[in-house]
């Protein structure tokens, strides 16, 4: 069955430090991969997406992610976090189906920024 796993429920990072959020998927073929951020009390905003080509993807707000087929991973990185990056992060993926293709979500990673 197709699934996505975000192994870390909570991560705490000091402001200015680097960040890596992990995401692993289980799927038979190359999936279509996304990262979304959800600020407290808000909807989700698209950070970046990957479906082909260069495996290193640049997104908004200084984020990037790298697709590694051999590890079935699509980890999100940022070289220096800001207090405003504190949020919930999701890495859904896409499976192909009839009609609309739906995103499959994991449980998310809650990012805490400490001063």
């Amino acid at each position: 069955a197709q699934s996505v796993t975000q192994p870390d429920i909570h991560i705490t990072v000091s402001e200015g430090a680097s960040l890596e959020l992990r995401c692993n998927y289980s799927y038979g073929a190359t999936p279509y991969l996304f990262w979304y951020v959800q600020s407290p009390g808000q909807g989700l905003q698209l950070l970046l997406k990957y479906f082909s080509g260069d495996t290193l993807v640049q997104g908004i707000k200084g984020f990037e992610a790298e697709f590694k087929r051999s590890q079935s991973s699509f980890n999100l990185r940022k070289p220096s976090v800001h207090w405003s990056d504190a949020a919930e992060y999701f890495c859904p993926f896409m499976y192909s189906g009839g009609g609309a293709d739906g995103l499959t979500f994991g449980k998310g990673t809650h990012l805490i920024i400490q001063p």
Partner: protein, 114 residues
Amino acid sequence: DVKVTQSSRYLVKRTGEKVFLECVQDMDHENMFWYRQDPGLGLRLIYFSYDVKMKEKGDIPEGYSVSREKKERFSLILESASTNQTSMYLCASSFNPVRQYGYTFGSGTRLTVV
């Protein structure tokens, strides 16, 4: 900017009431989706629609129905609200193919059933 608007940010309803959650998008998207979000469970798909008057069940459709009479509007209906439907409800929309565009989300409706 693409906008997905959910009519209410917060709702409090009584058990047994019929509840309507409304979602409107202004970008002529073909596809619309309803998710619920609960702590520790992430987002779970309730229903989606890829065209007017078309609907498909998601992973947790029990206790819900939907209506899409116009392309821009997708309504989620709780026929008889129960306390276990207390949750954050998120609407999303997208062009085809979704894998190329991803979703645009609304700000969510936090529903409390008492």
